[in-house]
Amino acid sequence: MQTLTPILSTVTAAFLASFVEVVEAFTIVLAVGVTRSWRPALTGAALALALLAALVLVFGPLLALVPITVLQFVVGVLLILFGMRWLRKAILRSVGVVALHDEEAAFSKETATLNQQANDRRADYLAGLASFKAVLLEGVEVVFIVIAVGAAHGQTLYASLGALAAFVLVMAIGLAVHRPLARVPENALKFVVGLMLTSFGIFWTGEGIGADWPGADLALLAIFAIVALASLAMVRWLRGTYPVSAGGLAR
């Protein structure tokens, strides 16, 4: 159980976080492919994936040179910052302070931009660049998540498998229905991912400063439960104290 807990939580965190990012990248690539043509869309995406692979190949082996407690501390602190940012936004979206992310709207916006550029001589180049940027940006987040949730416990392979499963699933669903995955409950996913990454961050930063958590890896579940209960209490309290009449500010 104590070895299964970190493996399951690592795979789940990498899968859920990557799922959100892949959906966002897929939306833009799909918009480019449908509006312009598939050649610049796939070329841009492939170039971005190649650059991401190069980043992993260059920086991945360097992590093996860092002492494990230092790695846990640094990765833990980065995960606290990263996870709390997601959690904050998810809480604010849940109470209506920040508008929900809309993949249909993102798709329409990208399509409109590409249509405006249709007569430009560089239209293919601009379309490919849009695809490249989308995949690179979301991909950098996926790479960080995989390295962060995997490296501190030597489970990069499991984290990679979680991310790969998310990629395959989004591609399969997206190509089957051929439209942006607008029905994905993105804020709920982001809420859970924010909870998981924040919990990982607190757990590893604690290990990095020398804490022997009671129950070893099982403490991760307890930390997750405490962070989840506190966050849900915040949502409930904010809804009661600061009721929002409009749909929130788009961010």
Binding site: M84, R85, R88, D212
Partner: protein, 71 residues
């Protein structure tokens, strides 16, 4: 070069949305780490302080954002 700058900017944006939240979290981690390493605070107590502190910082951040929203 602009691609590298672009990626670096986006990478920083991955960690910092509300600057106040990021700063307070870093101060909390630094204070707890210093208390454990320099003042012999038990590490487990340090871990517990991290948990409580992160939740307090998160509460302060979402409360400030909710109060600042125009209604």
């Amino acid at each position: 070069m602009s691609v590298i700058r672009f990626v670096a900017k986006e990478f920083l944006g991955m960690f910092v949305d509300d600057g106040n939240l990021a700063l307070l979290a870093l101060v909390l981690v630094a204070a707890v780490a210093a208390a454990v390493k320099l003042l012999a605070l038990p590490p487990l107590l340090g871990g517990a302080l991290l948990l409580v502190g992160c939740l307090a910082i998160l509460l302060q951040s979402v409360r400030r954002a909710a109060r600042g929203t125009k209604r």
